[in-house]
Amino acid sequence: MKKKGGAGSNIGMWYFAYIVLGVLFFSLTFFWVSSYARGAALYEDFFAKEIVRVINTGTPGQEVYMDMTEATKIGFKNGLAPADIVRFNNELHMVTVRLSQRSSTSYAYFNRVSIRGDSGVEILSGSADTNRLHFFITDVGGLK
């Protein structure tokens, strides 16, 4: 009866494999949907493009303030510091918005300018719930 015993142990192994695959599938799906439900993915995409929209129409010498409250609420909840939320890459002329520890979204601008955003997202004094992004549009090389 060795044959039947072998089949029985195989069934146990298959059940185990199904359970592992099922748990893996549902946990990955849960993480994917929850990143949308928390709004991180959507707001990263939205703010990266809105910042690029401002940069594309900007001219050197301009100073920009932009309300980022909706994005920073999510970023702070995910344990990010104000300086980590928006990054400017002048070599790749790209804006990167990060609202979770695990992901970020980038978008490129065409305007031939450099961005100086040392101060990043500022938390306004006297207004705990309002945060804004502050940056300067300068000539390429940052002279102006």
Binding site: A7, N10, K49, N111
Partner: protein, 150 residues
Amino acid sequence: MNRRGDGEELGLFMFLAIMLILLSGIVLGARSFFGWGYDFRITEADQLRSVVIPCFIDHDFFASGFNISQACAIHDDFLERNHLVLIRGLSGSDRVFIKGIADYENQCAFSGGFGNRAYPRCINGTISKQGEEFYYVIASNQQSRRAVTA
């Protein structure tokens, strides 16, 4: 060795097929609820037009060695990746200026592309300069880049 064939291996395919169907349902459900994201391409094409067309009026795009990046203050490699700037002389003129992905001209002309997110978003029209008519197409297909770190 089990020669009777209890069907566990076939059951795996059934299991994976069910997972695939569930996954498709969840992805479509999430996308239809949260939306497909902010489509910025038509706005970007319009912003690009507002830079390129005045620049075209001021500069000779058909001169040898003309550099649109220098003349119009656009970053050097920007147009090469996901964009098109095309200006073609009408009324018998064969002068053409193309920068970027030339095939976007065909994709922009394809009416089926309007409902398809894989196709670029385009702005076209005509412009006259020194009594000559020109047709232009400005297209963008830039997608945001999402990086996931472990």
